[in-house]
Symmetry: C2
Subunit: 348 residues, 2 copies
């Protein structure tokens, strides 16, 4: 009764079989007789038995059915949705996940990964904190645990990757703004000297060049990749001698900030200024004006990441693979293309 937890031995005794048989029932082996199985199952229910996965994991075979997920900023809805996507797949696959936030601190990230490792994760999905080095992941990959870097990369690390097609997405978005008649198009928000920033600005630059428009460096205004960062960036943009009439923003959070900043200056986003975001977070659709944005589908990307990792775990030892998640421009209202053909109006 109160003598600690119920174990297979207790079940065995109560059902009048051996612990081996109980074990076979637990893993629904076809070897056991139906009558026995029924009897054991009943006893398991009656005694309120709880399977002890920790004990099972002791034997060096079989995976722990635990994976680790570490993201750099869970308060950003992009990452929250990414996590939700992963959670869905993991739940259906019968896995549980340690989920932690590194808050852009490589130290916290290192600690939390170490802790997860001690608990025996069989795989790790990491959206690395800024400044993560290949060495940080070395021991993990050396011990044969599949690691998947998402969203951002870790230079030199031999891990699988899943990134979105930042370059193509930015190209498309800027191309669309050019098609609407814009000639001075800024790139607002985001921390410079990150790979993602470099890729998105490269797309911005090449789209302008392709259209024969000079891509002037003062139209690239970095800041934090947040709502507050967007406000700050657009403020500076509007103070330029020749201010832009539209902008591709580093991400949706920054884009919302840009909208806020425009309104604070008496300009209505979508009418007086074209705004395009990046990510397509859930609020993008319902915001006013609805945000035109490069849809990365964070939940979908999360699901895909989870599937990739599970595949690698099941495959035993697979070579790292690099996948780019294609993106697509979702035209809504904030770019000024909202049905009434009003884009050119802004340029008057």
């Amino acid at each position: 009764m109160s003598k600690g937890r119920v174990t297979v031995v207790d079940i065995a005794r109560a059902a009048g079989v051996s612990k081996s048989t109980v074990s076979l029932v637990l893993q629904s082996s076809p070897l056991v007789n139906e009558a026995t199985r029924a009897k054991v199952t009943a006893v398991i229910r009656d005694l309120g038995y709880v399977y002890n996965r920790g004990a099972a994991n002791l034997r060096q075979s079989a995976s722990s059915r635990i994976i680790g997920i570490v993201v750099n900023d869970l308060t950003n809805s992009f990452f929250a949705e990414l996590a939700v996507g992963m959670d869905m797949v993991m739940q259906s696959a019968g896995y549980v996940q340690f989920l932690s936030n590194s808050a852009e601190s490589v130290d916290r990230q290192r600690e939390v990964i170490a802790s997860m490792r001690e608990h025996g994760i069989s795989g790790l999905i990491l959206s690395p904190a800024r400044g993560t080095e290949a060495a940080d992941l070395k021991p993990l990959v050396a011990s044969g645990i599949p690691v998947l870097a998402v969203v951002r990369n870790v230079v030199g690390a031999k891990v699988s990757t899943l990134f979105s097609d930042n370059y193509a997405g930015a190209m498309d978005a800027v191309g669309h703004l050019i098609g609407l008649g814009h000639r001075r198009i800024a790139f607002l928000g985001g921390m410079a000297n990150t790979t993602v920033f470099a890729e998105r600005t490269a797309g911005w630059r090449d789209a302008l060049n392709k259209a024969g428009i000079p891509a002037s460096d003062d139209l690239v205004i970095a800041s934090t990749a947040s709502r507050a960062g967007g406000v700050a960036a657009v403020e500076r943009a509007l103070q330029l001698p020749e201010p832009p009439t539209a902008a591709l923003c580093f991400n949706d959070a920054a884009a919302f900030g840009v909208c806020d900043g425009l309104r604070a200056k008496g300009k209505e986003p979508g009418r007086d200024f074209g705004v395009v975001g990046f990510d397509d977070v859930i609020e993008a659709e319902t915001a006013v004006p609805a945000l035109t944005t490069v849809s990365v589908d964070p939940q979908g990307m999360g699901r895909r990441a989870a599937q990739m990792l599970l595949k690698q775990i099941n495959a035993g030892r697979a070579e790292p693979e690099a996948i780019v998640n294609s993106v697509r421009l979702v035209v809504r209202e904030s770019c000024g293309a909202g049905g009434n053909g009003g884009a050119r109006r802004m340029l008057a």
Copy 2:
């Protein structure tokens, strides 16, 4: 070498001591000689030893240093921040957390809790899915695992609770709007027949009654507790024969939706209509207009929840406690009190 993982026995052999000594070193016991400790520590580093917590947890004493967190909607930034707050405390305390999203499904919630239990969590923080019953938590509490319900309650469950003071917060918010001169104040958004909804509308009603203003039921417009729900609710509100001039919204997400809906109808929130939210999510401060809201401080609440749970885990067997997290009205711009005393202007 490649013969599986490195264990205490390997360390012991390499360092020329017994596994018991290695174990003592691992738990930094004062019993071991400094020289020995140094030698063992060096070997541990050299061989790349990884502590196997699962093995240690087998012995019935000692906690697993794992807790479970299950929230009903991680895509809502309120819960994401709540989770981040918990994560902070847990990380510092040397715990890791399973973090999962129930997406308001009691089935998923049940499964994920069962799974966490098999993995040996030593405590659970739950923001319950709608429809959670006391029976769902019964086995968990019966086995002596501390459970803490946050944000929402589970009627009849003998667990600790941490809720925000919904009634007082709503009272304050509505009182403030009345002070600004409003007489027709709506309550917008949120799912009716939840406890939180009942508490907030009760505060709304009593504040109106206290001021001698009749609290008419058609001013309470329920919908989902999301941005989209806010848009829908304010649309209906503005179609009333005698439309409101201000509103307390169920939460910040709904409040942002209300702002969107107002703009869609050509009304500027904060100037033409007073809007007050509830939660004080991170975007509330930087939105335009900055959202006046009842600050629950989700991160702080998360930290507090984590501390409560840890306390109970360490206390061994503590009685469930019920704590209400006090809230405070943060006056920003969306209510129309933004410095220029313009509130009464809306009523002209």
